[in-house]
Symmetry: C2
Subunit: 227 residues, 2 copies
């Protein structure tokens, strides 16, 4: 029987504020970091570059970038270039919601965690996200964890995996304040849904607006470069 | 609000006996079929050809073949060419187990089901599989369904998705008997973990042995071509 290494964690890294703060938290908790990012046909390729930079900053032992065919599935403004990214606030679940995205991401993380015998998967979902995205809600995360603990060889052998969501009750301002306390430099991060190839943000999409409001409410300076 | 179309089903199709029987059952239940296969770095590329043939036989309205980077994750004889496929029966979870494979497959199926507004996902897991693979067990499937019904926009809007496992309590012999009753031709199917490029089976791996035993116990002739 292979024993789960509680001090190894797979950390989902998008290159934005939330996952970067998650990296800092996992590091502070003395986890050995295995960073996982996805190239899933999202508009902002500069997200991947940002993910690489932050994974390096937090001394990830390995950083995998998995190419996923999600544009093949479609149904979101982030993966279907025929659907425009909205530049005003909207009611309900936004068109930038990617069907079952976190379920696909967490499934890959689970596969890698099993191969590594890691004891935790970190994901930066939070209160801002789950007002809009169904797969960021606490009930969903709990159900994924239950399923994950039935899905694997490790589970059969009694080694539990934890889905760690240290930001889940925090708003954006609380997240950047926490990051600042942990010494995070948000300079290399990219939040924008449609950043240009230099990582410069549009300043208009939901994600840009949440970021700006977060830094403003926290009384901090946002190091983002805008187009 | 988009209403779930209970008569659309995403059917996971590997090109083997189980998923082909599943297709026949979904068809008999008058579902409109949307077939989903994965090219995940498995050894037997002829599986994909078999999947295409059977999807066509059962008049799938669409057949997506998604390329997945699972060899990047490793940890299985099916996706890592350095690990040999065993040719004798072994105890416990076999080395052909692919970490979190069904979770990744079902997650993609969930994403597509959401885009299609489909009411069901069919997967051919069964009693033979779940003696070895953790992600074929009834408890696992139930937990995935619970998670799926929290994960999506459709779920938030009250449209439930069902994970249909019509073979779950059947052994191989019962599956091929059921298929025969439904008029299934198993000629185009491929079960072997290491079939050659013509779809000819090794006759030695676990999957070949289960197939042979199934046909023998059912008193039926196996149309497989062996190397």
């Amino acid at each position: 029987m292979k024993v789960t290494n509680e001090k190894k964690a797979v950390v989902l890294v998008s290159g934005g504020i939330d996952s970067t703060t998650c990296l800092a938290i996992a590091r502070r908790q003395h986890y050995r970091i295995f960073a996982l990012s996805f190239d899933y046909g999202q508009r902002a390729a500069s997200e991947i570059k940002a993910a690489q930079k932050v994974a390096a900053v937090f001394a990830a032992e390995e950083h995998k970038v998995i190419t996923l065919d999600m544009s093949e599935i479609g149904g979101s403004a982030l993966t279907d270039s025929n659907l425009p990214v909205p530049e005003q606030e909207s009611e309900g679940i936004p068109i930038t919601y990617v069907p079952a995205r976190n379920t696909v991401f967490l499934s890959y993380a689970l596969a890698w965690a099993e191969v590594l015998s890691a004891g935790a998967i970190f994901i930066g979902v939070n209160a801002v996200d789950y007002s809009g995205y169904p797969d960021c809600r606490p009930d969903y995360i709990k159900a994924f964890e239950t399923m994950a603990n039935l899905a694997t060889r490790a589970a059969v052998e009694g080694n539990r995996i934890k889905i760690a969501t240290p930001l889940i009750d925090l708003c954006k301002a609380e997240i950047v304040k926490l990051g600042a306390e942990l010494g995070v430099d948000y300079g290399p991060t990219v939040s924008c849904y449609q950043a240009d190839s230099h990582g410069r943000a549009c300043g208009l999409c939901d994600s840009c607006r949440f970021r700006q409001r977060g830094f403003r409410d926290a009384g901090m300076i946002d190091p983002t470069h805008y187009q």
